[in-house]
C-alpha cells in the first residue's frame, strides 16, 4: 500500500460570481483502499472529484499522482492515467445497446474506422462473465433497470482498464439488494488491487465499506479518519457541525375518513407501455401514505394522473367523494397541494423572483389576493403572502425580490413546500420532497410534513429514500410494473422486504 498514491493539496475552486466550492482542500488517497468522501449537498465533494478527474480546472492547488505532479486538463488525461469516474447522473446513451455504450470512445476498429462489432461484443461479454454482472449486452440501455445501468458504467471502466475508481453517490437510486451487490463488487475490486473513492452522504453505507473517511463541510476538509470504532453520530456531527436528530418523532395517530380514493387506474403511454395497470389506493385524513418503487414502475404516472397531467384511460379518482377525473388541472389544484419531483422545471419558474414563485397557484385560487379590480392582484397582499411564506418556512434570503435561481436547493424547496402547504388543502402530494437537500432542510421539511399529518390532512409521499419512507409513513405501498404489489406498515416490515417487492414484485420471488 503506497501512501503517496494520490495527493491533493490546497485545492481552491471558485464558481463565478462568488460561490467558493473548494476552499483549500487537501486529501490523500492510498493505493488499494476504499476511501469515502462524505459531506452534505453543497459541501464540495463532487467538485473535488471533478477536479481530480480533469472535468473542472482548479483555481489553485496541486495534485500529485504516484508522486508525480499532474495537471489533468480533461477527463481524457485522467482516463489515460487510469482514473475513472462514475457520475451521479449516469453517462449513458439510452438508445444504444449495452455493448455500444461500453466501447463508445474506445472502440475496436480497423484502419478505415470500421467498427469491429464482433470483437467488441466478445470483449464486453468476457468482462460480464468474468465479473459475474449478469447483463445481456445486446439490450438497449433505455430498457434496463437503473441498477443494471450502473453496472454498465462499471463495465465501461473495466473495459478501459481503470485502476482508480471515483464513484459519486452510486447508491442514491439503488434498492437495498442492488446496494448489496454493488458493495460485493466494490470489495471484489479492492481485493484485485483497485483503489476506490466513494462519495456519499449515507453514513451507514460509508461506515460499512470504507477503510478511511474524509469529511467535508462548506468547501473544506474537516478531518480524515481511519474507519475504526466510528459511529454515525460522530460522522454526522463532523458533517453538519452540530448534533443531528436521526429520526423525526411520529406520534401514533388514528387516521380519519378517506380523502383520496383512486380506483382501478389504467394508463398506457405513447410508446404503448402500460404504466398504470389497475392501481387503487386510499389516503385518509391524518395519514401519510408512502409510495416506494424502483424508478419507472409507474409512480411518476400515478402522480401525473392524480394531478391531471395525464388522463388515465380507465378508472376513477375521488377527492372527498367528488370525481375529479373530468376536472382540469386548475380545478384540481384548488383541492390538492402538490410538490413535484423536479424542483427546477416543474416546481418553479427559475428566472422569476421568489415572490412571484410563491404566489403561483395562490393567485388563481385565493380570492383574498384580489385588488380593487377583480382581475388584478393586489401588490400589497401578494407581497404580504410572500413574506409570510418566507418567514414561516425559514427561507433564507435578503428579500422576496431575488430571482429564484439564486436560492440554494434547500431554500428553493422550502419555498415550494411553503407555497403548497399554505394552500391549506386536505390532500398533499409530495413527490421526492427532500431529494438532494442538506440535512437541515430535510429535517425541516419532514417535520412540517408530520405537522400536516397532525392537522388531519392526508399526505401521499413518493420517495426513493427508504429511510424517509420508514420514518414518516403510516403505510408503505410498493409499485412494481404499474401495480401496487404491497401495502405494509413500517413497524411490521423491513427495508429488505420492501426492496424485494420493489425488485421482484413479490416476496422472495414467489409470484402470487
Amino acid at each position: 500500500m503506497h501512501s503517496d498514491f494520490i495527493q491533493m493539496r490546497s485545492i481552491v475552486k471558485v464558481f463565478q460570481p462568488a460561490t467558493v466550492a473548494l476552499d483549500g482542500v487537501s486529501v490523500d488517497i492510498n493505493q488499494g483502499e476504499i476511501h469515502s468522501v462524505i459531506g452534505e449537498n453543497g459541501a464540495g465533494k463532487s467538485t473535488l472529484m471533478k477536479v481530480l478527474y480533469g472535468m473542472v480546472a482548479p483555481d489553485s492547488g496541486e495534485i500529485y499522482f504516484k508522486g508525480q505532479k499532474v495537471n489533468f486538463s480533461s477527463p481524457r488525461d485522467a482516463v489515460k492515467a487510469g482514473i475513472g469516474m462514475i457520475h451521479q447522473e449516469l453517462m449513458l446513451i439510452p438508445s444504444y445497446t449495452i455493448w455500444e455504450n461500453v466501447v463508445l470512445g474506445a472502440e475496436p476498429a480497423n484502419r478505415l474506422g470500421r467498427l469491429e462489432s464482433k470483437e467488441a461484443r466478445a470483449q464486453v461479454q468476457a468482462l460480464v462473465d468474468e465479473y459475474d454482472l449478469g447483463l445481456s449486452i445486446d439490450e438497449r440501455v433505455a430498457d434496463v433497470s437503473v441498477g443494471a445501468r450502473q453496472k454498465v458504467e462499471i463495465l465501461k471502466l473495466l473495459y478501459r482498464d481503470i485502476d482508480t475508481l471515483i464513484m459519486d453517490e452510486p447508491t442514491a437510486v439503488l434498492t437495498p439488494q442492488e446496494i448489496r451487490e454493488l458493495f460485493r463488487w466494490v470489495s471484489q475490486a479492492k481485493a484485485a488491487g483497485r483503489t476506490i473513492i466513494f462519495i456519499s452522504h449515507k453514513l451507514a453505507e460509508v461506515l460499512e465499506i470504507s477503510d478511511r473517511i474524509t469529511v467535508m463541510r462548506r468547501g473544506k476538509t474537516i478531518t480524515t479518519v481511519e474507519n475504526k470504532g466510528l459511529d454515525k453520530s460522530f460522522l454526522a456531527r463532523a458533517m453538519v457541525g452540530r448534533d443531528v436528530v436521526f429520526s423525526v418523532s411520529k406520534p401514533p395517530q388514528e387516521p380519519g375518513q378517506t380523502i383520496l380514493a383512486a380506483e382501478n387506474l389504467h394508463y398506457t403511454d405513447a410508446d404503448g407501455q402500460k404504466k398504470l395497470d389497475g392501481v387503487s389506493l386510499k389516503v385518509r385524513r391524518g395519514e401519510i401514505v408512502g409510495l416506494a418503487g424502483v424508478e419507472g414502475n409507474g409512480q411518476f404516472e400515478l402522480v401525473q394522473a392524480l394531478v391531471g397531467l395525464i388522463q388515465p384511460q380507465q378508472g376513477s379518482i375521488k377527492l372527498k367523494g367528488q370525481e375529479i377525473v373530468p376536472l382540469p388541472i386548475s380545478k384540481r389544484r384548488e383541492l390538492m397541494s402538490y410538490v413535484p419531483q423536479d424542483r427546477k422545471s416543474w416546481g418553479s419558474a427559475q428566472p422569476l423572483s421568489l415572490q412571484e414563485n410563491v404566489i403561483m397557484t395562490h393567485h388563481m385560487t385565493n380570492t383574498a389576493l384580489q385588488g380593487r379590480l377583480r382581475w388584478m392582484l393586489s401588490r400589497r397582499k401578494t407581497r404580504q403572502l410572500a413574506n409570510t411564506i418566507k418567514e414561516e418556512f425559514e427561507v433564507v434570503v435578503p428579500n422576496i425580490d431575488v430571482p429564484f435561481f439564486a436560492l440554494s436547493g434547500g431554500n428553493q424547496q422550502r419555498a415550494i413546500v411553503g407555497r403548497e402547504f399554505m394552500l391549506d388543502n386536505d390532500l398533499v402530494i409530495l413527490d421526492q420532497p427532500t431529494r438532494g437537500l442538506d440535512v437541515a432542510s430535510i429535517e425541516y421539511i419532514q417535520e412540517r410534513t408530520l405537522q400536516k399529518r397532525a392537522d388531519g390532512q392526508g399526505i401521499l409521499l413518493i420517495s426513493t429514500d427508504l429511510d424517509e419512507l420508514f420514518s414518516l409513513s403510516d403505510r408503505i405501498l410498493v409499485m412494481y410494473r404499474g401495480q401496487i404489489v404491497a401495502d405494509l406498515r413500517p413497524e411490521e416490515t423491513s427495508p429488505e422486504e420492501i426492496g424485494e417487492y420493489m425488485l421482484l414484485g413479490a416476496k422472495g420471488g414467489d409470484n402470487e
Partner: protein
C-alpha cells in the same frame, strides 16, 4: 411513354441537389445542431461553382470551388454556433441572408448584370453513360446518361450510410446528438464532432448547390436555390436522417418538381406548377406529424 420517361429523368435531376443538401443536413441532424443554413450554403455553392467554372473553364474546378464555398459558410456557422455559443437559428438565418445579399452583390459588381449569368464560358458537368446500365432497355433511358455528378451523389449517400452506421466515428457522431456530455466525460470532444458535422454539411450543400448551377443548366440566377435548403430540412425530418431514406424522399420531391416542369411545357401558367414542390413539402410534413402523433397515441 416518352413523356413519363422525361418526367422520371427530370425527377432524378431535381432530386439530387435536395438529396445532397439533406445528406449534409443529416450529419448535423445527428449531432443535434439546428442547421438552418443549408439554404445559404447551397446558394453560395451554386454561385461559386459558376464563378469557378467561368474563370477556369473547368467544371471540376467549378465543383471544387462550389464545395469550398459551402465549407466556408460552414466554418462561420461552426465558429458562431459551436465555439461562441450563439443561437443556431439566428446564426443560420444571418448566413442565409448573407448568402443572398453576397451572391447578388458580387454578381452585379463582377459582371454588371442583374438576374442571371449566362455565358458560354461556363462549362457544365458532362453527362456519363454507365457501361452496363446503358444496355438495359427502358431503364437506361431513365437512369443512364445523367450528369456524372448524379452518380457521385449516389456514392456519397452510400458512403455516408457506412460512415454513420458502421464506423466508430458514426457511433460517436450519433451519440453527440443524444447526450453530448457522455462523450465529453469519456474524453472525446463533442464540440469537435459538432464542428466536423457542420463542415461536412457545408461541403455537401456546396456540392448540391454546384450541381444546381452546373448540373441541370450552366448558369447562375439570383436566389436560384429558391427554398431547396428548406425543403432539404423537411426531407431530413421525414426520413429521420437515414441516407437512403432521404434519397427516396428527395426523389418524391424531385418527381413533383419534374412534373411541374413538364406541365409548364404543356402551357399551364408557370406559377402553378412551381408551387407544387412547396405544397408537397407542407403535405409531407403534415402527413409525417400525423403519423408521429398516431405512434404516440397508440
Amino acid at each position: 411513354m416518352g413523356l413519363w420517361i422525361e418526367i422520371l429523368r427530370s425527377s432524378i435531376l431535381a432530386a439530387i441537389p435536395i438529396a445532397l443538401a439533406s445528406l449534409g443536413g443529416a450529419f448535423t441532424y445527428y449531432t443535434d445542431v439546428f442547421n438552418v443554413a443549408l439554404e445559404g450554403m447551397m446558394l453560395v455553392g451554386a454561385f461559386l461553382a459558376v464563378i469557378g467554372s467561368y474563370f477556369t473553364g473547368s467544371w471540376a474546378m467549378g465543383l471544387l470551388v462550389g464545395a469550398l464555398g459551402g465549407l466556408v459558410i460552414g466554418i462561420i456557422f461552426a465558429l458562431f454556433a459551436v465555439y461562441m455559443g450563439a443561437d443556431h437559428f439566428v446564426t443560420g438565418m444571418a448566413l442565409n441572408m448573407f448568402a443572398v445579399g453576397g451572391t447578388t452583390f458580387t454578381l452585379r459588381r463582377l459582371f454588371g448584370i442583374k438576374g442571371a449569368l449566362v455565358s458560354s464560358r461556363i462549362v457544365g458537368i458532362p453527362s456519363w453513360n454507365i457501361p452496363l446500365l446503358s444496355k438495359i432497355p427502358v431503364l437506361r433511358e431513365v437512369i443512364s446518361g445523367h450528369p456524372f455528378a448524379v452518380y457521385i451523389a449516389l456514392l456519397l449517400i452510400a458512403l455516408s450510410h457506412y460512415l454513420l452506421f458502421r464506423t466508430k466515428w458514426g457511433l460517436r457522431l450519433r451519440a453527440v446528438g443524444e447526450d453530448a456530455q457522455v462523450l465529453d466525460s469519456l474524453g472525446v470532444s463533442s464540440r469537435r464532432i459538432k464542428t466536423l458535422s457542420i463542415l461536412g454539411s457545408g461541403i455537401l450543400c456546396g456540392f448540391g448547390g454546384a450541381f444546381l448551377s452546373l448540373g441541370y443548366v450552366a448558369l447562375f440566377a439570383e436566389g436560384m436555390t429558391s427554398g431547396r435548403g428548406w425543403i432539404a430540412l423537411s426531407v431530413i425530418n421525414v426520413s429521420r436522417g437515414r441516407p437512403w431514406g432521404l434519397l427516396l424522399v428527395s426523389l418524391v420531391f424531385g418527381f413533383f418538381e419534374g412534373l411541374g416542369m413538364s406541365l409548364q411545357g404543356m402551357g399551364l401558367a408557370p406559377q402553378f406548377p412551381q408551387m407544387i414542390p412547396y405544397i408537397i413539402t407542407i403535405v409531407a410534413v403534415y402527413v409525417y406529424s400525423r403519423r408521429e402523433r398516431r405512434v404516440k397515441a397508440a
